[in-house]
């Protein structure tokens, strides 16, 4: 159960970052902290919705005996290894970003946060594949579905902010 809780927490944080990224680059104001926080909140709320959807799929799969809780737990544990490693790297980069030294902040941005965003889709898909490796095809499909839902969240939010910018381009 702890595995599921940990994955949910990571999904919430990832959702918040997705919201922030979808918003970023679409508001030209200098001071926009409240809007950034709102975007992150919206992303986290989107992640909650995604988790509810995924819970329905997983519970449905167990109810129909397509896969067992033990199989899910094992797949989740393996996924967690990948995602927690990635999250740790991002956390270090994020910590560097808030350093008082500009040069240290550069390292966080240039070496971790930018490339981290670049490889995030691969990490999410790779984690799902690694988690479901050796499991049934149905579990593999469920893991890939979960990955696609999390990847799709940013796309959905991005479209929302693009529409807002198109409607009110200053």
């Amino acid at each position: 159960m702890m595995t599921a809780v940990a994955l949910c927490l990571l999904a919430l944080v990832d959702g918040a970052f997705s919201g922030f990224r979808a918003f970023a680059g679409r508001d030209g104001r200098i001071e926009k902290r409240p809007a950034k926080i709102e975007a992150a909140r919206l992303g986290a709320m989107g992640a909650v919705a995604a988790l509810v959807l995924l819970a329905i799929v997983m519970l449905g799969g167990m109810a129909l005996d397509i896969f067992s809780f033990a199989e899910l737990e094992e797949a989740g544990r393996r996924m967690l290894v990948v995602y927690a490693t990635f999250a740790t790297a991002i956390t270090i980069g994020f910590a560097a970003y808030f350093s008082p030294a500009l040069e240290v902040r550069s390292v966080g941005t240039v070496l971790v946060l930018g490339p981290g965003t670049f490889i995030r889709p691969l990490v999410i898909l790779g984690g799902a594949l690694y988690g479901a490796a050796g499991s049934s095809t149905s579990l593999l499909l469920a893991a890939l579905f979960a990955a696609m839902v999390m990847l799709g969240l940013e796309t959905v939010l991005s479209r929302k902010y693009a529409r807002e910018l198109a409607a009110h381009p200053f």
């Binding site: 970023a24 680059g25 679409r26 030209g28 200098i30 902040r105 941005t109 240039v110």
Partner: protein, 301 residues
């Protein structure tokens, strides 16, 4: 009218708009822009060109302005992430502190005016500093003015020639602009600022290290959505001038200035050299500037 300048790594934003000196626009034919890219090594440039808003073989001004606005918003996001405003002000403020009386800072080719608005918002250049952004793109300047108005910022934006001011600028600066000047245009760019009476210039641009093209590609893929912004971002890294070219251009174009580079390529880890300035400065102010800059002056060469 066909854009005249051609080079191997031409940026699309150089060929899809054509401004007169007063900021008014000449229509740009798609075929002319495409012919300006004749030496581009990849067909992706021409493919992107074909996807830009156009009607009957001519680029649509409103549509192109929309693309450029979105691209500049994404550029601002990058500038915010690398804290470009702070990078610039920590070098320019110590210089302005040396000058008595009112000062005027002019951002050449300011686009959406991020730096100008950042300085106005944070006050990071100090008191008694007038901040003006110049560009030929009226669409971007309208957006810049509107954004300044929304945040009630004390700065202004002007369409036209930044080097023909009634009151001379104390400092000219720019970000990501100087790689657009090729050949004799580069020393001429510095010559015009010096002739206009400025005490110094600080022109920030991408540092061309071995890592720059890869880094630019990764960052523009990760952070930008607009295809033109991704394309031009990588091209600008490939076109960035070397330290030597910049120092030579200042020396030959503005011989009355001392040419300097902050964070010269090779002196620091390539990964830390995001944007570095080429600086031209009145000789009598160089030593006082180094003292005013403090420990950072060790990174001047």
């Amino acid at each position: 009218m066909a854009p005249e300048r051609q080079d191997r790594w031409m940026e699309l934003s150089d060929v899809i708009v054509d401004f007169r000196a007063d900021g008014s626009r000449r229509p740009v034919k798609v075929a002319d822009a495409s012919s300006a890219l004749v030496d581009a090594p990849f067909s992706s440039s021409r493919r992107l060109l074909a996807q830009l808003p156009q009607s009957e073989g001519v680029f649509d001004d409103g549509g192109v302005d929309g693309v450029l606005l979105r691209s500049h918003l994404e550029l601002q996001r990058l500038a915010e992430e690398v804290q470009h405003g702070h990078r610039v002000s920590r070098l320019v403020r110590p210089f302005l502190d040396l000058i008595d009386g009112p000062k005027r800072v002019v951002d050449v080719g300011c686009g959406l005016g991020y730096l100008v608005r950042y300085f106005a918002s944070t006050g990071s250049l100090g008191d008694d500093v007038e901040i003006i952004g110049f560009d030929f793109n009226q669409g971007l300047l309208r957006a810049a003015s509107r954004l300044a108005e929304i945040e009630d910022l004390d700065c202004k934006f002007v369409v036209g020639d930044a080097f023909a001011l009634d009151t001379p600028a104390t400092v000219y600066l720019s970000s990501g602009v100087i790689h657009h000047f090729r050949g004799p245009d580069l020393p001429d760019f510095f010559a015009r600022q010096h002739a206009a009476g400025a005490a110094a210039c600080f022109h920030f641009d991408v540092a061309p290290t071995w890592l720059t093209p890869l880094g630019a590609w990764v960052f523009h893929r990760a952070r930008m959505r607009e295809p033109l912004a991704r394309h031009d971002g990588v091209r600008s890294a490939l076109r960035a001038h070397s330290d030597t070219d910049l120092l030579d251009a200042i020396a030959s174009g503005a011989p009355g200035w001392v040419p300097l580079i902050f964070d010269a390529t090779g002196r620091r880890l390539a990964v830390l050299n995001v944007m570095r300035p080429a600086i031209g400065m009145n000789p009598e102010l160089v030593e006082p500037y180094k003292q005013s800059l403090g420990p950072l002056s060790r990174r001047l060469s």
